[in-house]
Amino acid sequence: MRRACRGNLPALAFLLGLLMLWQLGAMKVNASYILPTPVQILKKIWELRDSLLTVHLPATMSVTLIGLAVSLLLGLGLAVLMDLSPFWQKALYPVVVASQTIPTTTIAPLFVLWFGYGIWSKVLVTILITFFPITITVYDGLRSAKVEMEELLRTYGATQWQIYRKVKVPCALPYFFSAVKMAIPMSIIGAAIGEWLGAQSGLGYFSRRMMTQLDGAGVFAPIVLLSVTAMMAVGLVSLLEKRLIRWRGES
């Protein structure tokens, strides 16, 4: 634990330096409606803690979680399908890549028209942003399994399913964790974008409302909260990964 802290010391010092620079610069500009100081932002978070933590954070988190869960199911499903069948690989891979060329932020207002101001238009934005890295990374993981290992099991008389469980899944697991760690921040961003475009609650929505009131600190407060949440979630997944995975890459 202590070593981890010491390892992060340069980063923390650098961050502190940046924040101080920001504080000084913002004090000099003295226009808190466009550039609030970090201290003002922290104060704002504290003032608004009730509505931020009990209304808007849960709203954003539910969008994130539903979106992430659907993306995981979809991504894993597509990855396995592409790994199992060359036909589906050829059919799906280009489409999956092409889906990433859609500028999600510009098409998202349409989702609001189609699915209303409720949760599903935001979930869709999240899915569109996150299923891609999950699909591609897990597919690469499944591909990384060595043919020789599969063959060895086949000489033991293993079935296709046994080969999948004993070779493919363990090979793909480190990739899977990388995908989840990538997808968490992206899904939070997706949720916030969705809310920014049209919602009745959520941190993205809150940030936008503050924008219309020219409350600079109010715009930043939910953003800080989102970042902290994302960092904590990634940290949690990393911890889980360390417990579950005893190796990474070929020795």
Binding site: Y156, G157, Q162, R246, W247, S251
Partner: protein, 253 residues
Amino acid sequence: MRILEFERVSYQYASEDFDIVDQLSFSVESGAFHCVIGISGCGKSTIFRMTNGLLQPKCGTIRVGGIPITQQKNYCGYMPQRDLLFPWRTIGENLALPLEIRGGFSGKEKTELVEEALADVGLAGCRDKMPQELSGGMRQRAAFARTMLTGSDLLLLDEPFSALDFLTRISMQEWLLEQWRRHKKTILFITHDVEEAVFLSSSVLVVEKTPIRSLREIPVPMGKTRTRQDLANPEIVALREGLVDMLRKQVGG
């Protein structure tokens, strides 16, 4: 008793316009130790891969223990060139793999069999180590123990020592002979190292040319118990040189 029989077996790779194995017939007596030698790319691995079922012959029949291999499972233990220990499994879990695939073993039975196999190859106490923690020779011994746990009487070893350094290799050869004497298995061993072939085999099977139509059997006049000093016998030296000549002729064209 014949443990392995090839009857007019042919194989053709899709990328080639000839049968690399062409109407090949040969048989192996139970309890024998044969090395199969031939130059690189001559098709000796193809013979192995047909025997263990990874390749299907174009025609002909392969029998193990008198039964065509298409009608049985788990009839041979195959040990490939690289040890292929799964890096995410401990040594013990790696050894348990063939048992897991065969099924029907309780957790306790598996542990006992694995412990026994590890002690047998001189790796007692390594059960909870990861493969990365073991040296090259130890990894090969673990891989051999895993092959033994397939429970088959016929073992196919495909250049298992080729990646080891010289000293490790010769001690592994002595170790393998000792294992063979003790367990009374039938071993087929691919190598392109003539000295290794002579030291290990009761008789050497030479691939004289590609396409493979026959294997030339050359008996090695040494007992089952042998030491490296025996390799210096004039008779053995002559045999070795004869084999080298036979192979060099093919490389020269």
